[in-house]
């Protein structure tokens, strides 16, 4: 009777899918039953034999080629639905801009890939002209890249060259919504790190705003260029104490950024919050085992300035 049960479950046993108590019982039975032991042997043999059709690891070439092909596919993939989840809240933006100081402005993240028909108004607290950009069809408003960004020295005037079907130029101040959208797009998406640097640079002039701050945090986390990351980091630094998200992102940079300059800067900027438990834990780990000597010693110094408890 038991043999029947065992024979039914031997397959699961071979696959290590039996719960512990069943497995125990089965093994106990096998110790006493030659028949079932033979059955197990057969099952195991069969199991092993099936490996004559082994699972091959995909070759690096295949992986690389597949990734590249996917990237191309993603570029042309239909993104329509995503971009409707705008973080932008027009009413809030307008409210904010009205009371914002000179250079401040509400900035929001809007995707441009594939083109979007959007309408937006630009309102400046200085009472400058209210410009309304008309709704454009997707084809017309599809931006393929930002070509360059420049700011006239000593003025609010910013010039951004971006490409759609042909190169176009947008001019305006940092208040200008269109300018802001393009800056954010550039910060996130441009392949040219110099352009990304310029856009992050301009954005750092107003890190108070949530959306700008998010763009800067994104740049610190994901930008491939350490100079851009450093710029974003320095701009976020003052907010480490007031904004826990900023603190966490800076902590992350300290832990895992590949550039030592970014890491040392992050460490320095975390000083005001060195008493926070998460920061303290990281400092302890760094003091103990970080490969970078400067970071190790700095972490030790910062820890020594903390009151002892726990």
């Amino acid at each position: 009777m038991k043999c029947e049960w065992v024979k039914e479950n031997v397959l699961l046993y071979v696959y290590n899918e039996l719960p512990d108590d069943a497995r125990y019982e089965l093994e106990q039975h096998l110790a006493r039953c030659a028949d079932c032991t033979a059955e197990l042997k057969t099952a195991r043999k069969f199991h092993t034999m099936l490996s004559e059709l082994p699972v091959e690891e995909p070759s690096p070439n295949l992986v690389a080629a597949s990734r590249m092909r996917l990237q191309e596919g993603l570029e042309t993939a239909e993104q329509g639905r995503f971009w409707h989840r705008l973080i932008f809240d027009p009413a809030a933006w307008l409210r904010q801009v009205r009371f914002a100081p000179a250079l401040a402005a509400a900035i929001f993240i809007v995707g441009f890939a594939g083109g979007i028909a959007t309408t937006y108004k630009v309102v400046s607290d200085r009472g400058a002209s209210i410009a309304s950009v008309p709704v454009s069809t997707p084809a017309e408003s599809s931006i393929t890249g930002i070509q360059s960004i420049s700011q006239d020295p000593g003025s609010n005037h910013i010039s951004i060259k971006y490409n759609t079907v042909s190169t176009q130029e947008a001019q305006g101040s940092l208040n200008d919504q269109r300018i802001q959208q393009l800056l954010l797009f550039a910060a996130r998406n441009n392949y040219n790190s110099g352009v990304r640097m310029d856009s992050v640079d301009l954005l750092t002039q107003e890190p108070n705003n949530t959306h700008v701050r998010e763009a800067l945090m994104y740049a610190l986390r994901y930008d491939s260029n350490p100079g851009v990351r450093l710029k974003a980091l320095d701009s976020l630094g003052p907010f480490v104490k007031s904004d826990p998200r900023v603190r966490d992102v800076v902590l992350e940079a300290l832990i895992q950024d590949s550039n030592p300059g970014v890491r040392t800067d992050a460490l320095r900027l975390l000083d005001p919050v060195r008493a926070d438990s998460s920061v303290r834990t990281v400092l302890q780990e760094l003091a103990r085992s970080d490969q970078n000597q400067y970071i190790r010693s700095q972490a030790r110094i910062m820890l020594s300035q903390l009151p002892e408890f726990d």
Binding site: Y15, L74, A113
Partner: protein
């Protein structure tokens, strides 16, 4: 790089970022799953070309529908579901194709499917043993083809890719019990088909 031990950015964050349309975040996600996906597709289809097609379709599909992912299961399960469904489609198409598939005969008089290309990366010093291995591999491959697409899928996921039966059930939108029974059936069929192999 010091600090690598602290691990990669959390999947959940990447998923949320990807849902906001962040392509870089999506690509980062892809990188953690794509080898497993390729491995599965490669072993199942036996062809690099078809594996790549499955890969492409799977991740494009994931990209387009990630907005609908509500964290009701793990991302791992979600991705495997997409890939598995595509693999099932592939297996069903293959079954239909098989009726008119070009068939050839090899040196030993065995019929084999010209479309059946099992990539064999193992090159040994013993060509005779290699040949025997290849023959065995082919026979197993043929036996696997006798399973229904679902049976094949369950067997593939369990035996060749080590997924727990519970996960297999989740991936196929069914219960662990059903997955278990399917595994039994599949194994019985295979044992029958390969009975003379020692």
């Amino acid at each position: 790089m010091a600090g690598q031990a602290s691990g990669r950015i959390d999947d959940t964050m990447l998923v949320r970022e990807a849902q906001r349309g962040n392509r870089a975040a999506f690509e980062e996600l892809v990188r953690s799953y794509d080898q497993a996906v390729l491995r599965l597709a490669l072993h199942l289809t036996g062809s690099e070309h078809e594996a790549q097609d499955v890969y492409q379709e799977a991740f494009l599909k994931a990209y387009k529908s990630i907005g609908n992912f509500r964290f009701e299961c793990s991302f791992y399960t979600w991705i495997y579901r997409i890939v598995t469904n595509l693999c099932l489609d592939h297996l069903r198409k293959r079954q239909v194709r098989k009726e008119d598939a070009p068939v050839a005969t090899d040196a030993s008089g065995e019929q084999y499917d010209v479309l059946d290309q099992v990539p064999d990366g193992r090159s040994g010093a013993n060509p005779e043993r290699d040949l025997m291995r290849r023959e065995l591999g082919k026979r197993i491959s043929h036996a696997l083809e006798k399973l229904t697409p679902r049976e094949r899928m369950v067997f593939e996921l369990k035996h060749y890719h080590g997924l727990k039966l519970r996960t297999v059930g989740e991936v196929l939108h069914t219960t662990e019990e059903t997955a278990k029974n399917t595994l039994f059936r599949a194994t019985q069929k295979l044992r029958g088909a390969l009975a003379d192999m020692r």
